[in-house]
């Protein structure tokens, strides 16, 4: 039995950790509404003018467009390749299955700098021009893992007798997939796609090595902060990025039911990359 004091102390500790984690984020959000261009506390007044100015900024617009394009394309590639890999690993027994499964998940654990550098030298060696496509390939390396993990986990939790029941009732392979397997894994696919997009949208390291002259949104933020320019706009953009990445994560954890914690962990692990 824990004493009353232990309970109080534990609560205080938990609150302290939450503050430590979220105060910086809260500050950025508050500064996005700051009247002054100087970041000081307390803020002298509240305004929405930076939102308008940021929206009008052609550089921000180009970066946003590139980020969305790269995110959507990497997610699409991840959906196709990741779910196909998950099906293959789940369905068939073959030599080296465990090894392949491990290799699939590796890009998530591998430091982003390694992925980025290897891709960079690979592209340079083969004289591939850095473009949207090289960014997409870079992002796909970890987006595939997210979809793969989600779909595989769902397949493993789905009783194989459901597929057998469909076949037993007269459905061939394709009908079984369309009527039973796909509906059962669809939420896992959506969740995987949302998480993959969120990861791609705020990725910095791999993008640094695979982007050409163009900037994605996180790269633009990084550049602006380093030069100490347009900080109010940076705050607004960060605020938007937070929204764009948090909303899919919340939806995804809803879709995968009680596995919210696992998903957030996966994202956290990926973000360390």
């Amino acid at each position: 039995m824990e004493s009353r004091w232990t309970r109080v102390a534990l609560r205080a500790w938990a609150v302290g950790i939450l503050l430590f984690l979220f105060i910086p984020i809260a500050l950025v959000i508050i500064y996005a509404f700051n009247v002054s261009t100087i970041q000081s506390w307390p803020i002298p007044g509240v305004t929405l003018k930076w939102f308008g100015q940021t929206w009008e900024d052609p550089e921000v617009r180009r970066a946003l467009l590139l980020s969305v394009e790269a995110g959507l394309m990497a997610t699409t590639a991840a959906l196709v390749l990741g779910s196909m890999a998950a099906f293959a690993i789940h369905r068939f027994q073959f030599f080296g299955r465990e090894a392949i499964s491990f290799v699939f998940v590796l890009p998530l654990a591998l430091p982003g700098i390694i992925t980025g550098m290897s891709l960079n030298s690979f592209f340079a060696f083969n004289q591939v021009t850095f473009s949207l496509w090289t960014i997409v390939i870079g992002h796909a390396t970890f987006c595939i893992v997210i979809v793969y993990n989600n779909v595989l986990a769902r397949l493993r939790r789905t009783s194989s007798s459901l597929m057998e029941a469909a076949m037993d009732l007269g459905a061939n392979g394709w009908q079984t997939f369309r009527d039973v397997t796909f509906p059962l894994i669809s939420t896992a696919l959506v969740a995987g796609a949302l998480l993959a997009f969120a990861l791609s949208f705020d990725e910095v390291i791999v993008t640094t090595f695979t982007a050409g002259a163009q900037n994605t949104l996180p790269l633009w933020i990084f550049g602006a902060i380093r030069l100490g320019q347009r900080l109010p706009e940076v705050n607004v953009v960060v605020f938007i990025v937070i929204l764009v990445t948090i909303v899919p994560v919340v939806i995804a954890s809803q879709l995968t039911g009680g596995r919210a914690a696992g998903r957030v962990e996966a994202v956290a692990a990926a973000e360390e990359v």
Partner: protein
Amino acid sequence: MRERAALATPQAPREDLRPAALRVEGVSKRYGRVLAVDNVSLTIAEGEFFTLLGPSGSGKTTLLRLIAGFERPDSGRIELGGKDVTAVPPYARATNTVFQDYALFPHMSVAANIEYGLKVRHLAREDRRRRVAEGLTLVRLVGLGHRQPSQLSGGQRQRVALARAIVNQPEVLLLDEPLGALDLKLRQEMQIELKRIQRELGITFIYVTHDQDEALTMSDRVAVLAGGRIEQLGSPVDLYERPTNEFVAGFIGVSNVIDRDGRRLVVRPERIRLLDPGETPGPGTHLEDGTVQDVIYAGMVTRYAVQLDRGGRLLVVEQNRESAAGADDLRGRKVRLAWRPDQAFDISAPQAERSEQ
């Protein structure tokens, strides 16, 4: 009246009068180093309630899966309605299965579950509606068609699984321990229910269970399996009254086996009489002296465990026709047991036939 007549004749149907619904010939299936099904042959008649009975690991479920088409045999052939289906995939076989975990599609309503088989076979909408309604009526779930499977009780899910299989009018219905997850009372209800449905529809049922009571209660014939082989195949009466080996004798009913004069004998506990002191047994009765070790009162009957003077131990069951008060006094007493010689079955002879035909 017809039902009474059927109940009054528990004998196995004469299969030579009816065409075979299913023929299994020398089928074997190996998983790695385990021979799950070992050269099994059997013929099941149309409209028969046939049970595969055995402990877990006896190969009964594998045999059912081979018949359904989920597994391919390593050798042997399987015929359904006279056609070789050994290489036919499950969706093209005229069998339907009731799964142990029911396997209801969680994203479909009860009605959509039942309709699914009809839909993939492209039946007209009106036909599908009618058959789903009939199916719901048959399993007494009228009015629950719009529910989701998650909103049903275990017993109701079981009925949906049954309806989903039956509406396709299979030639053979396969049931894989369908009552295993239900509690005793519900299980007994469903046994009667299944038997009623089988009689009404006249479909061949192949029923897998490890529960000997279930097998004896419902089946026309039972195949007792162990280690992937058929130990004995026959009517419930055959199996209980004339077991051909010790495994069957022990698996069905209580194992009451003693060795006498180089023979191994099975005597069913209710066939043994405890003689009253001074009672003279009829001529030709087999007699044994022994000591009562234990007396177990069970309401309808009382069970006595008796250690025999000539070696061995037998269980004796006596109906409590009158009050069993005082039965406890027998503990530790010398008693005399008696049975008619034709009630003891010799299982020491080498097995004449392992599987039928």
